[in-house]
């Protein structure tokens, strides 16, 4: 039987401190942060989060406050980003809106892409009944009028129940991607490394998460990046029609919709919210691009 020398084991253990285990997570993270794009995107997103959640803490105005002495005032020391027609402080409402949009956008993207990946790859890997059931559900959701259902359900989203809104939004975004994932999984399943893993004794669910999904990473990351903007825009259009996030709560989409009417003569009502949205989506795209390159062993810019 195999008797590997013990001394060698000891020697290897000695250098274990020097060499950290180069697992995929570490390598991908390392490669992600080595690119300027990745660092920039990550930095911007962190900055947006910090601004949205810590920015209002020391600021005298809250998003519900209204300054009846200042309507439509340009930025000043008192109101950093100016005020709206109602006397609301633009800085306060923009940050409040950014909080909601960041959370809604990112959560919906992660949830819907994750759901698409899981459903698609399980259907494509196991085929048979699993496939038929999952794809039936996907087809069903595809034919349902998403906007109408969200509009009807909108009373349920009030009063701090926005997670339900996030879930519903995600539920209507995953189907098309899951079909693509299913098709690609069927192709990947025939690859030899999947066979190798099976013969090694790796359980099917581990094969899906460890081999199938990373090989779909490019698709999934692009999809998630697109879903962030899709979620924010859907939320905006819902809010525009009076559904979605309801006043007095605000979202970036709602602010932009309101601000666009006054943008020409009071640009501060529009540009701060729009800028916030642009920076958010830009940072997500930068992160997505670098993450895709970091996952792809063939990409350029390796160290």
């Amino acid at each position: 039987m195999m008797t590997l020398p013990e001394e060698e084991f000891a020697e290897v253990q000695a250098d274990a401190e020097r060499l950290r285990v180069p697992s995929r997570t570490r390598v991908v993270a390392g490669r992600f942060f080595r690119t300027r794009q990745g660092r920039l995107g990550f930095g911007l997103l962190v900055f947006m989060f910090l601004l949205a959640f810590l920015g209002p803490v020391l600021y005298p105005w809250s998003y519900t406050d209204m300054d009846f002495s200042a309507f439509m005032q340009p930025p000043s020391l008192d109101h950093w980003f100016g005020t709206l027609q109602t006397g609301s402080d633009v800085y306060a409402v923009t940050l409040r809106g950014a909080q909601k949009s960041l959370i809604v956008g990112l959560l919906v993207a992660v949830l819907s892409t994750g759901l698409a990946a899981v459903v698609g790859s399980f259907a494509g890997y196991f085929l048979g009944w699993t496939d038929r059931t999952l794809m039936w559900v996907a087809d069903l959701l595809l034919v349902l009028p998403a906007f109408l259902i969200l509009a009807i359900m909108s009373p349920l989203f009030t009063g701090g129940r926005w997670p339900l809104f996030v879930i519903m939004l995600a539920l209507f975004l995953w189907m098309v991607t899951s079909k693509i994932v299913r098709g690609m999984t069927k192709a990947i399943k025939e690859r030899e490394y999947i066979k190798a893993a099976r013969f090694m004794g790796v359980p099917p669910s581990a094969i899906i998460f460890r081999h199938v999904m990373p090989n779909l990473a490019s698709l999934l990351i692009v999809d998630a990046t697109l879903n962030v903007s899709a979620a924010i825009l859907t939320e905006t259009s819902l809010s525009y029609f009076g559904f979605g996030i309801q006043p007095p709560d605000v979202s970036l989409g709602g602010l932009i919709a309101d601000g666009s009417r006054t943008a020409l003569y009071a640009p501060w009502t529009f540009w701060f919210a729009a800028g916030g949205l642009i920076i958010t989506i830009l940072s997500v795209n930068l992160i997505g691009d670098s993450l895709r390159d970091a996952f792809d062993p063939g990409a350029k810019g390796r160290a």
Binding site: V12, P22, S23, R24, E192, N215
Partner: protein, 707 residues
């Protein structure tokens, strides 16, 4: 005819900054066969494409190509077209992509005729049939009406040759004409080429990586390395009096059919240089065991070392004087030199007193083993069968037949033993392997792994069996997940079986297979073919298995790299007491590594037994033909051998012949009397043990020395 038909002088080809071919010169005379050998990336094919003027536009070609004294390089396309196909023609490696799929084979050959000869349509069609007959296609008149996809690989290559000789060319360039074919078909095609040459008197330029083919067929040889010719001369000079260390190494690294384990393989360390960053000196210098300081300074010119024998090596004269064997030159000792850096043979001395420094203890190269009968049976396969249904119809799918991929295969592997399962493509060896690896109840028969019948395994037991049975696939690039780091790949079986801290163990495994543990953070695509296969082997070893199933583990590798992997497998098997099931189509490799061998034909075992017995005295006519078809890289020996040529192709496994499956191609069946033939037609022969455990599935088995 006198003088050279084709003369190439200082040919250089550049793709951008990459110099693919650097100063190749050769000439061939009428009726002469020039072999160009080298590993992949050596520039062999680019050279021939440059001669034909078929390189893409962005390739820069310099030098001179003279065909009957006419310069071809830089000639207008119209003039070239007049030469191509008429005076100089080409046979490509892949006959499927070299023929237009939508035209009939006969029409394509007739087209080749009509382009260069003023003959009528009917006459050209007639000539096409004659040509098909010449290259040995049965029923040429009917087959001329077939489409390329209806031809088998061997028949397509015959048709390609027919097309190449259609206009009685003076030069035929064959680019790896037999690489994609099975050995018995390869032997047929080489015969056809010889015949075509006799008929046309053409000069042949044979490009191949197979040293055996060149040894038997070529008059002169040109060895290429990194875009240059490093040695050229007559076949006997190059094979018996090699002056260039690369040639010596190449010859030493080929597993030979006529030499078993006695002759260790000689791997050449390292990899060929990338053509985009060549070393300043001799391109072989980094891998050369004889390199001296002078080698790294400038590239040695190709100089005449003996009449008609040229070599590009500063120490060619020394080599000529001493004449070292490959093993001496590359310093291969008892077999432990192959494990690479970082591994030392040491054994644990757990009971060493007072923490004394453990001393390395040499492991005996051949541990004492129990006789075969007393060792445990690791894998037992009995009457294994796998049939694929043949379905037809898009809406109403119905079964129209059955492919008998594997049809009753039995063998056993004992502890510490290597069984080679060989056969040509389509014989069912890979299907048999997959059936074993699935570890479920087979369609028919029984698979018993480590004493457990796979039909009765619970999922938990199956997992336990998997732990001790691992697999290495043919193409490491396909079997290693491209998105995983080497560490994750090698550690995966460990993780799957519940090990926590895999880091140290993975590093130890990498060291064991001769890789640098610091490479663990890289991806498989950053490695060369041989290194990738080492990663796959490390992964297979991770769980300390008892049985490793190897599916063509070296057939995707170049010979010099292949030798290293074979030596590694041999070495590991011996030291760790592993059993191997080694599936391969290359019988020479199997002879080198296996203890026992099973030859498969059309889903059944034709012959099984100890390697030496089977190779030295094969009893089944198929084994005899198979062995005789494999070329040996030894010109004298190769030319003296008697070749048993099989006729036709493998019958379809959907409709195997009745009785003995081999009888349609069997040379013995042909010479039998009618009374004895009846038995072959009616009764399917079972494997009979004829001499000890050497058995053959033939009613009239007889020993014959063919190697």
């Amino acid at each position: 005819m006198s003088g050279a038909v084709l003369e190439v002088r200082d040919l250089e080809v550049c793709f951008g900054d990459v110099r693919a071919v650097r100063g190749v010169s050769y000439s061939v005379e009428a009726g002469e066969v020039l072999g160009i050998v080298g590993e992949s990336g050596a520039g062999k094919s680019v050279t021939s494409l440059a001669v034909m003027g078929l390189l893409p536009r962005h390739a820069k070609v310099a030098g001179s190509v003279l065909l009957h004294g006419t310069e071809l390089l830089g000639a207008p396309e119209k003039d070239l077209a007049a030469f191509r196909g008429k005076t100089i023609s080409m046979v490509f490696q892949d006959p499927l992509s070299a023929m237009t799929p939508v035209y009939r084979v006969g029409d394509q050959i007739a087209e080749a005729v009509r382009i260069h000869q003023k003959v009528g349509r009917e006459r050209a069609a007639e000539r096409a049939v004659e040509l098909l007959d010449l290259v040995g296609i049965p029923n040429p008149r009917q087959r001329a009406k077939a489409f390329p996809h209806e031809f088998s690989g061997g028949m397509r290559q015959r048709a390609m040759i027919a097309m190449a000789v259609a206009n009685d060319p003076d030069v035929i360039i064959c680019d790896e004409p037999t690489t994609a074919l099975d050995v018995t078909i390869q032997a047929q095609i080489l015969e056809v080429l010889k015949k075509a040459q006799r008929e046309t008197g053409a000069a042949i330029v044979l490009i191949t990586h197979d040293l055996g083919v060149v040894a038997g067929f070529a008059d002169r040889v040109l060895v290429m390395y990194a875009g240059r010719q490093v040695e050229a001369g007559t076949v006997r000079d190059v094979y018996y009096r090699s002056r260039m260390p690369y040639t010596i190494g190449l010859l030493g690294s080929v597993p030979r059919l006529d030499a078993g384990k006695r002759l260790p393989l000689v791997p050449i360390e390292g990899n060929p240089p990338s053509p985009s960053c060549l070393p300043p000196g001799c391109p072989f210098e980094p891998r050369c065991p004889m390199a001296i300081d002078e080698c790294g300074l400038a590239e040695p010119p190709l100089t005449e070392v003996a009449p008609g024998h040229r070599a590009a090596c500063v120490r060619a004269d020394e080599i000529g004087d001493s004449g070292p064997t490959p093993a001496e030159l590359f310093d291969v000792g008892g077999g432990s030199g192959t494990t690479g850096p970082g591994f030392t043979d040491t054994t644990a001395s757990a009971d060493a007193e007072g923490g004394a420094v453990p001393m390395p203890v040499a492991v005996p190269p051949f541990p004492v083993r129990l006789p075969r009968e007393r060792r445990d049976v690791v894998l037992e396969v009995e009457g294994l069968a796998k049939h694929h249904p043949l379905m037809k119809g898009a809406i109403f799918r119905r079964r129209v037949g059955t492919v008998h991929a594997v049809d009753g295969v039995s063998f056993e592997i004992r502890e510490g033993e290597t069984l080679g399962l060989v056969g040509e493509s389509g014989c069912g060896k890979t299907t048999a392997l997959m059936e074993i690896l699935e570890l479920v109840r087979p369609e028919r028969g029984r698979v018993v792994v480590f004493g457990r019948d796979t039909a009765t395994l619970t999922p938990r037991e199956r997992m336990a069996v998997r732990r001790h049975m691992q697999v290495v696939f043919q193409d490491p690039l396909a079997s290693l997940d491209p998105r995983m780091t080497v560490h994750d790949l090698v550690g995966e079986p460990l993780a799957a079986h519940g090990y926590k801290d895999t880091g140290p163990r993975v590093r130890r495994l990498l060291r064991l297979v001769g890789l640098d543990p610091a490479d663990a953070a890289r991806y498989p695509q950053d490695f060369s073919g041989g290194q990738r296969q080492r990663i796959a082997i490390a992964r297979a070893l991770a769980l300390e298995p008892r049985l490793i199933v190897l599916d063509e583990p070296v057939s995707a590798l170049d010979v010099s790299i292949q030798a290293g992997v074979i030596n590694l497998l041999e070495d590991l098997g011996r030291r760790l007491g592993l059993s191997y099931l080694f599936v391969a189509h290359d019988l020479a490799v199997v002879r080198h590594i296996a203890d026992r061998v099973a030859v498969m034909y059309l889903g059944r075992i034709a012959e099984i037994g100890q390697v030496d017995q089977v190779y030295e005295a094969p009893m089944h006519p198929y084994t005899q033909a198979l062995l005789s078809a494999i070329p040996i890289p030894d010109p004298d020996k190769e030319r003296e051998r008697r070749r048993i040529l099989l006729e036709g192709d493998l019958p379809s496994p959907a409709n195997p012949p009745s009785g003995c499956r081999f009888r349609t191609r069997c040379p013995k069946f042909k010479v039998l009397g009618d009374a004895r033939r009846v038995r072959c037609v009616e009764e399917e022969p079972e494997v009979r043990m004829l001499e000890g455990d050497h058995g053959a599935a033939c009613h009239y088995a007889e020993k014959l020395d063919v190697v």
